[in-house]
Symmetry: C2
């Protein structure tokens, strides 16, 4: 007998972002695995076991969930945002590839969710309205010079840039360095939005410019979107400004 593993995207944190598919998957699971604070967001359910783990233990969590599913259980691994974007889905695939043959026989289902850049973009207008990229600033799993090369490539070709994991306690200087690098390619007035804990009670959304961005506090719960030189800010009396990137683009003259 073989079980099932469902990798469920919870979105940015508030239940309003849950899809119908995610709600159904969470209801059907016999066991939930995930980062402790994500599991705490979900109401307890009789007969459903919970297996919280720490933030940096993605591989161990993936392997534990796969073992449990291979024992015949219906197991869900919860993931913040979308599981496929800097989250649990790749860790699950890595463990399946490296693990015992029986894990390849498992029914594995990925349930997409609202990833942070979509939620932050929705709060401020349409900054991702044109071609864009998503880049993790963490250099835990790639060399910093590769991050720099990607910042250069994206900014010089006119992509909007969504920066995941901008700052952590172990990575205090990288974000400032990235902003400085982007200034080689983009005007000082380029709009930048910082979205933190979107959809949660302590949500904050702050619009600034590339010239000012390095001084804005950020952490692992922050998602930063850097516009292009075509991005616009629309001021609205009595309302928060809109930041958007037009659908049309001329040639980039970088």
């Amino acid at each position: 007998m073989s079980g099932r593993l469902t990798v469920v995207g919870l979105g940015p944190g508030d239940p309003r972002y849950l899809t119908a598919e995610a709600v159904a998957a969470l209801g059907a699971a016999q066991a939930l695995y995930g980062y402790g604070p994500y599991l705490e967001r979900l109401p307890p359910r009789p007969g459903q076991s919970r297996h919280p783990s720490d933030n940096r233990e993605e591989s161990a969590r993936a392997a534990a969930a796969l073992r449990h599913a291979a024992d015949g259980a219906d197991v869900a691994v919860v993931s913040g945002g979308d599981p496929g974007v800097f989250a649990m889905a790749a860790a699950i695939c890595e463990e399946i590839e490296a693990g015992p043959e029986s894990w390849r026989a498992l029914d594995v289902v990925f349930v997409p969710g609202i990833t942070a850049m979509l939620a932050v973009a929705a709060r401020i207008g349409a900054p991702l309205g044109h071609d864009f990229c998503a880049l993790s600033l963490s250099d835990n799993l790639k060399p910093w010079d590769l991050v720099e090369r990607r910042l250069d490539a994206a900014a010089s070709a006119g992509f909007v840039i969504a920066l995941y994991n901008p700052v952590s306690r172990a990575r205090p200087w990288q974000f400032g360095s990235a902003v400085q690098r982007l200034r080689w390619h983009l005007p000082a007035a380029t709009p930048v939005v910082f979205g933190r804990a979107v959809g949660r009670p302590d949500e904050s959304v702050r619009l600034t410019t590339l010239a000012e961005a390095a001084a804005v506090p950020a952490d692992m719960a922050t998602l930063v979107i850097v516009g292009t030189k075509e991005s616009r800010v629309v001021l609205r009396p009595g309302r928060s400004p809109l930041f958007y990137t037009p659908r049309a683009a001329a040639e980039v003259n970088a």
Copy 2:
């Protein structure tokens, strides 16, 4: 008196992808605007008017919805996928910027949705597991040499590439040309997935390689994800293969 405009992401088409926030917004609206086939997916609701329009009329649709909201109504504009990703949100912002001052006073809310690349990725594993970009192949609103420059920048820097709007009747050669261009940077065996109409009865998901990709049929309902040279395919006896991009990356030696 001033109304409200909500721009609602429907996700890829099946109700399972709707978020709780989107369901609430659709229920509250007095008038729905959108591309005809998107409106047809939604159950009729007494007292709610419908204003379908054609696919290429984003600006006119946005202006009509804004006028209606400025008359005091609670208006929703529906958008496939996520409204902020090659969809209605940027068109709304453009019209607000260009339109009468009264449109800036409106309460405008953007409701994020599951964009096609997240849904297609979830169907095949975790192809977006590392840094990635989203690029529309339509050259209706930007010159083709800018598309080529972005393909070069993204592929040579090691981004996974999600291609929106790969082919239309008016753009028959662009996709083949883009694939050829990507072959300058990426190995022939680079995994590529074609996802069409994901979540709908006629869904198809097809895994191939960059060498074979130009021969695969695609249209405006197709989303294509091109991996990196680090992307992996995991074969599974009796199950469909997984395509994923590992979380870790070494330096790119392009």
